[in-house]
Structures are given as structure tokens and as C-alpha cells.
Symmetry: C2
Subunit: 158 residues, 2 copies
DNA sequence: GCAAACCGGTTGCACTAGAAACCGATTCGA
DNA sequence: TCGAATCGGTTTCTAGTGCAACCGGTTTGC
């Protein structure tokens, strides 16, 4: 289908981008169609369902999303009645966010679908290949963090 | 640093997204800082420098970008005098787009930097691991295309 | 040879995502 | 204890991205 005589087609960051976008678009489409949820919203629900109630701050760490993105996702989920905020007695600035009964029900539907999609997407990879692939991703991420620290000596690592 | 007790941290599409974004952000920052180029613009220059003059249409295929993104990138590059458009005698609707002398000079600086960054980013991977990693990405991309064809029976594959 | 369909390219518009400014609450230091 | 710095969270502003409608030019079918 593609001619791809260009070296761009061998540039690894480009290949990663193409593959990841393809995977993300597919998953995003599925969630939107079946639950009307976007990926940020889904991520928040996944973390809340698995790790229990927590503040937006800790969701930022767990999802690696921007705090604005987390805030917006929480607001949407709250408006839909999937999560609820209760005041934090220890710290008046933040709230605890937790799944409602409806949210838990959706979470119970969503996670099997997620795992099934993951299984279907990566069905052609052996268990060993999957393991290696994850390990490589982790190493690359660590390497980027390392380089960022070195390349940006005067600013925060974000 | 991270606690990550959540299953989200094992969800492969999420891991791919985190890693790819880290790599992309790093590269985008580098190009912006050194050349004032964004990734779409850089991609167009890479293809033009490697595969020679061509139409926007063929750039869309080579870069896998939206035709609007290609168009805007070309316009920016043209305004900076890095590419030039010459009328296409065969088809009055399109032009041939090619690097100018200045564009070729920038391309000559940009490609070594790109390859150097690639080398630094993936220095911790052996040649064999790199090869396997690329092969896995290709297989996953192919798999997504396959599933999209199956899952979207009534609409275009986009 | 002309109207309709089509195609490359362009423009306009809605939506998303991140940056920075902002607010109330909390902590730190003199 | 009081003022400054900090922090969690929210709002606002702006840049980027993709879709859809659009415009000229080209091909197709009658």
C-alpha cells in the first residue's frame, strides 16, 4: 500500500508515533462509541476503581496527565454521576473523589472490555514478546527522563 | 517516585502512550529550540530531502499526516523560504514542492541531529533489541489495520 | 461537447490540550 | 502570630488538530 522509500519510515520516534496513535485512536473510538467516555475520563475511572478514592493530585501522579486534564475529567464524570466528591477533613483545599454505585457498575463493564481489547490488539505477540516489549518501553521512558534531566539543567523536570 | 499500584500501569496502550509522548516531547522541544520547526514541518522536510520534489498529496502518504497538516506545514516552510512550489505541468490543480538551497542547507543540519538524537535516545538498546522493537511496532500497526477493517464494516477505514 | 462526478488543495470551524494567571487554604519562618 | 511562600484546584487564554464545506481544475459518461 505504501511506497515509503523515505528514511522517515525508519526513524524510530516516527514509527512509535504512528503505531501508538493507531492503537490510541482505535481504543478511543471504542470507548466513545460504547460508553461516551474519552481516554482521560476512562483513565481516571480505571485508577479510581482499582486504587480507591483519592485526590486529584494523586490522580495526576497515577495517570501522568496534566492537572487540568484530570480536573476536567473529574468534572465530566461528576456531572454524569459516575464519581462523587466528598470534602477532605485533613485538607480544606482538596476533596476525596470516589466512584459512585453507578460509576462502579460502569467500571465493572469497562475493565473487561479494556482487557479484551488489549488481548485482541496484541494477540499476535507471544507472552515473551509482550514482556520484552513492555520492558523496552520502560527502559526508553527511563532514558528520556535521564536525558531531560541532563539537557534541562536550569528548569524543573516537569 | 511513582507508587503505581494501579493496573493502568500495566495496560499496554497506556504504556505506549506514555513512552511515545515522552520521546515526542523531547524531540519536539529540541527542534523548536534549535530550528523553530514543529514536527509536521520537520517531517515534510525529511521526506522532501530524502525522496525529492513531490506534491502535497504524496506527502500525505509518506508522512501519514492529515492533508491539512501537510498543507499548513508547506505554507510555513514556503514563508520561511525553505521550500518552493513550482506549477505542475501535468495537473493544474497541484504543484511540485521542493527544497530551496536554504532548505537543503537546513536539511543537511537537521538530519544528523535527528539521527544523533535517535542514537542517544535508544543507546541503551542493543542492535538486536532495536530490530525486534521495530518489528513489533510494525506488527502491531498491521494488526490495528486488520481490526479496523473488521470492526468498521460500514464506514471508510479513514 | 457539456454536465456531473471527482480530485488536489485551501479555508473555516469546532474541539482538545497545555500554559499561565488566579483563588482559597495551608504551611513555614521570623 | 502575622506575613510570605506554597499547594490543591479552578478558570481563562492560546496554540494545535481534524473534520467538513468549499474552490478551481480534471476526468467521465452521455
Amino acid at each position: 500500500m505504501a511506497h515509503d522509500s523515505s528514511r522517515l519510515a525508519d526513524f524510530l520516534p516516527y514509527l512509535m508515533s504512528v503505531t501508538t496513535n493507531a492503537v490510541s485512536d482505535m481504543i478511543a473510538g471504542e470507548y466513545r462509541a460504547r460508553f461516551g467516555l474519552k481516554i482521560p475520563e476512562w483513565r481516571v475511572m480505571a485508577v479510581l476503581g482499582d486504587a480507591g478514592p483519592q485526590t486529584q493530585r494523586s490522580l495526576v501522579g497515577a495517570t501522568r496527565m496534566d492537572k487540568v486534564a484530570v480536573n476536567r475529567a473529574c468534572k465530566v464524570l461528576e456531572d454524569r454521576g459516575l464519581v462523587a466528591r466528598s470534602p477532605n477533613a485533613d485538607d480544606g483545599r482538596s476533596h476525596h473523589i470516589e466512584l459512585t454505585a453507578a460509576g462502579k457498575a460502569v467500571h465493572g463493564e469497562i475493565m473487561p472490555l479494556a482487557l479484551d481489547m488489549e488481548r485482541r490488539l496484541f494477540a499476535s505477540l507471544s507472552a515473551a514478546e509482550l514482556k520484552d516489549f513492555k520492558a523496552l518501553l520502560a527502559r526508553i521512558t527511563a532514558r528520556v527522563a535521564e536525558l531531560e534531566g541532563a539537557d534541562a539543567p536550569k528548569e524543573l523536570t516537569r
